[in-house]
């Protein structure tokens, strides 16, 4: 009996696992983690970071006066701080404007990163754009995963002609230039953040479906699945209780690392002018604002550098952080290395 107890599989603690050790030893992994944490912090504390420059509508919806905004929004003991941080009203995602001059204004004390054409505060747009980025990234990965799990799961578990049909369909979507498909969806269903997110999710699921299918095929052949069947478990029960939980782990990790590239696609669309409405805090749109100001007047070609340098840096660093993190995780998970 004692022997049997000793044979009980022991779950290795994550902190002692080889995967974690390998990850921790990789310097690029730490850089990536630091970058991602920086963005998470910016996103969480966006209201506090921009308390002194909130738009009129945002302040109204929060029930604040301009004079008290900075004090309240930087005080964690105040209930409005939590409201603004956890569930800010939609109006806070609108970039406040200082005047309506079409010409950008260089960085100043009040506007440290300058004003984009139309008087949009670049600093505000970038800080709140971080929130948009995470919101979009997480939601799109979620939807794409859901579709991928449905299709990949059905394909791998049922097999036969269902598998064949679903996988050929997956191939069609996979081989198609994603941006073109997204453009089709956006022109038909109209331009909005929701449409874009749905469109990118609709384009993004094939990788997940393929991966899950592969994992399921492996899991299906395990002895414990046969054992469950021998015990009389039904097909759906086996799928949800045994096959899916044992096939989905790496998929979820790898999918969540795609947030960087998804944010990149959204930024590209919004740069093309297919993004959310004008004035919504979103990095791609900030670059789009800069489109007419990339090359300055003769003699001062870099006069308006701040219009495109800051948003570009913000996007590139975000994607870099996720890519470094993703690389490190994939390396750590790879049993060959």
């Amino acid at each position: 009996m004692a022997e049997l107890a000793a044979m009980k599989p022991q779950r290795e603690s994550f902190w002692r696992s080889r995967v974690w050790k390998r990850f921790r030893r990789n310097p690029l992994a730490l850089v990536g983690t630091a970058i991602v944490i920086f963005y998470v912090l910016v996103a969480i504390f966006a209201p506090a970071l921009t308390a002194d420059r909130m738009g009129r509508n945002c302040l109204r919806d929060l029930g604040l006066k301009r004079t008290e905004a900075a004090r309240v929004l930087r005080n964690p003991l105040h209930p409005v701080f939590w409201r603004a941080t956890v569930a800010p009203p939609k109006s806070c995602y609108r970039i406040p404007r200082k005047g309506y001059s079409p010409v950008p204004k260089p960085p100043s004390k009040k506007y440290p990163l300058g004003l984009a054409g139309g008087g949009y505060d670049i600093y505000y747009g970038l800080v709140w754009g971080t929130r948009t980025a995470f919101y979009v990234g997480i939601l799109v990965v979620g939807i794409a995963l859901l579709i991928g799990i449905l299709i990949g799961g059905a394909s791998g578990y049922i097999g036969g002609w269902v598998d064949n049909l679903l996988m050929r369909f997956t191939d069609v979507i996979y081989a198609f230039p994603g941006l073109v498909l997204v453009m089709v969806v956006v022109t038909i269903f109209g331009r909005s953040l929701t449409t874009i997110m749905l469109a990118i999710a609709v384009v993004g699921w094939p990788t997940y479906a393929r991966m899950l299918r592969g994992n399921i095929l492996k899991t299906k052949a395990q002895d414990y699945v046969d054992a469950a069947r021998a015990l009389g478990a039904g097909g759906l029960r086996i799928f949800f209780k045994h096959v899916l939980p044992n096939s989905i782990g790496p998929l979820i990790i790898l999918a969540s690392l795609d947030i960087g590239s998804i944010v990149l696609s959204v930024a590209a669309l919004s740069f093309l002018g297919l993004g959310p409405g004008i004035g919504f805090a979103d990095w791609g749109q900030m670059v789009n604002f800069a489109r007419g100001w990339i090359v300055g007047p003769p003699g001062e070609p870099l006069k308006y550098w701040y219009t495109w340098v800051w948003p570009s840096l913000m996007i590139a660093l975000f994607v870099l952080g996720w890519n470094l993190l993703g690389d490190a995780v994939r390396d750590a998970l790879d049993p060959r290395s």
Binding site: L28, R168, F169, D171, V172, A175, F176, P177, G178, L179, V180, L181, M183, V184, V185, V186, T187, I188, F189, G260, L264, A267, A268, F271, L272, G273, L274, V287, A290, I294, V295, G296, P301, L302, W305, W308, S312, I315, A316, V319, L320, N323, L324, D327
Partner: protein, 345 residues
């Protein structure tokens, strides 16, 4: 090989069927009057939209509509593009050479450079050159195409006054338009670099090349970065295999082991990827053409999407699907030809 070829070729109509079904299916979400725009051939016809709705059964059930749409598409009628002010097929044919020229000048250098760098990084694993290649690859992989494009426009074109934006300098465009009107300049291929040579106008070729440098560079840097990464890891995989050790044990020189044995096998995933790269390239072309003001397919599609020019977008999507699928099939066939193992899978 024959069965493989036939099986692979049979996928083309299947893919086209699926894509057209998706596209026509999505069109059902539009009101009939918006769908009618896909069948309008000229601006005058826009006035009689109700007749067109009747004529093309746009209020009929889905399968009837699909059938009418297929018939029209087979006759090359994809409707009228408001943005290009031309029928969609005509606009596509006119803009295709611009994009194809850009893709051509980007694709080959990208393949060569990234295969070379990837191999080098793998051979000198963890040495300085590997570190440099890896850091550069992850950096350029992370820079969005439009960010790199804008940076190049601002710094290289704006500040350093090198190369150009657009397809040609504006004085040359006017001159060529006049010359072609009187039959002194012929657009044989639509590739300006080639047409310049064929017409004996080296200045045109030179100017066109100068205007292609920046957009091509943007595509090469962003897309090549991914290829370098794949090449490096694929080469590392091969270098770790037994046959490499055998080759070394036989006393073959390093050069032969690396380039004749390992690299040949390491190239296999690259060939597969090259087909997919083609699709990514189209994504990149949409953005680079917009930034560098090249009047190609990508710029047209981007404008059409912004201005909700549905016939243009739908036609563009379908024709792109044809090109991408054909390219993938060609790649697969080449691949099977090069590596006999593939055919029996």
């Amino acid at each position: 090989m024959l069965t493989f070829t036939v099986r692979r070729l049979l996928q083309l109509p299947l893919v086209l069927f699926a894509v057209s079904l998706i596209i026509v299916g999505m069109m059902q979400f539009l009101p009939p009057s918006a769908r009618a725009a896909a069948f309008v051939k000229s601006e005058q016809q826009l006035a009689h939209i109700d007749e067109i709705i009747k004529q093309y059964h746009l209020d009929a059930p889905f399968y009837v509509q699909y059938w009418t749409w297929v018939q029209n598409a087979l006759h090359g009628n994809f409707g009228f593009s408001r943005v290009a002010k031309k029928p969609v097929l005509e606009a596509f044919a006119e803009k295709l050479p611009v994009s194809a020229e850009l893709a051509f000048y980007a694709f080959l250098p990208m393949l060569i450079v990234s295969i070379w760098l990837g191999t080098l990084a793998a051979i000198y694993r963890d040495k300085l050159i590997d570190q440099i290649v890896r850091v550069l690859a992850v950096l350029f992989w992370s820079i969005p195409t439009f960010v790199l494009g804008i940076a190049l426009v601002a710094v290289v074109y704006g500040y350093l006054r090198l190369f150009g934006i657009g397809r040609l300098p504006s004085d040359l465009i006017i001159e060529l338009a006049q010359a072609s009107a009187v039959g002194k300049f012929h657009y044989y291929t639509g590739f300006l670099t080639l047409d310049g040579l064929l017409n004996g106008r080296l200045d045109v070729t030179w100017a066109a090349l100068k205007h292609l440098v920046l957009p091509a560079l943007t595509l090469i840097l962003v897309q090549g970065a991914q290829l370098v990464r794949v090449m490096r890891s694929s080469m590392l995989d091969e270098l770790g295999k037994d046959y490499v050790r055998t080759a070394r044990a036989k006393g073959l020189p390093d050069r032969v082991v690396y380039y004749k044995h390992a690299r040949r096998n390491a190239l296999i995933p690259i060939i597969t990827l090259a087909g997919l790269m083609f699709a990514f390239m189209i994504n990149g072309v949409v953005i680079t053409e917009t930034i560098f003001n090249l009047p190609g397919l990508g710029q047209w599609a981007a404008l059409a999407a912004v201005q909700l020019d549905q016939p243009a977008i739908l036609g563009f999507a379908l024709l792109t699907a044809v090109i991408v699928t054909t390219a993938n099939i060609v790649v697969d066939l080449l691949y099977a030809l090069v590596d006999p193992r593939i055919r029996y899978e």
